[in-house]
Symmetry: C2
Subunit: 88 residues, 2 copies
């Protein structure tokens, strides 16, 4: 039993995409999620292996749920692998 | 902008519920997720503030996605708050 999973790099990209879709600045989201701007920037650009609580804070700041944020990360993963014959 | 979020206690309950729905033992899931049985037991009973990678490992072991696991955690949260007038 196994399913390909989005990585935390995809999670970071999903955060960025959802933030931009909401016309939020990084400052606004960092504020809403209670994290430093530099940390949010790292998350969006490189990904970080965030804990559930931090993911919940980001989701809350985006006005969405963890499941919706994770689904968006899975979309990012699909974008990555579209057109490739990847098993991963 | 804010949305109520499932906590990691709800995540642990969701793992247990999905594992049982699949007729998997804790041993089988711990094996599939590459974690110790005692750690999985802690997660299911008390919750742990897991990182994205560990959540991905559990989802993979359950043959599901992180978003589906998170949605199940949100169901657990709703079960908790049903009938209560909670704002949280």
């Amino acid at each position: 039993v196994s399913a390909p999973q989005a990585t935390y790099v995809h999670l970071g990209r999903a955060v960025r995409r959802m933030r931009q879709a909401r016309d939020m600045t990084m400052e606004e989201l960092a504020d809403a999620a209670g994290m430093h701007l530099t940390y949010l920037s790292d998350i969006e650009l490189y990904g970080r292996n965030l804990t559930w609580d931090k993911i919940a804070g980001l989701a809350r700041g985006l006005g969405t749920t963890i499941s919706a944020l994770a689904a968006s990360a899975e979309d990012e993963r699909r974008r990555d692998h579209d057109g490739e014959a990847v098993q991963s």
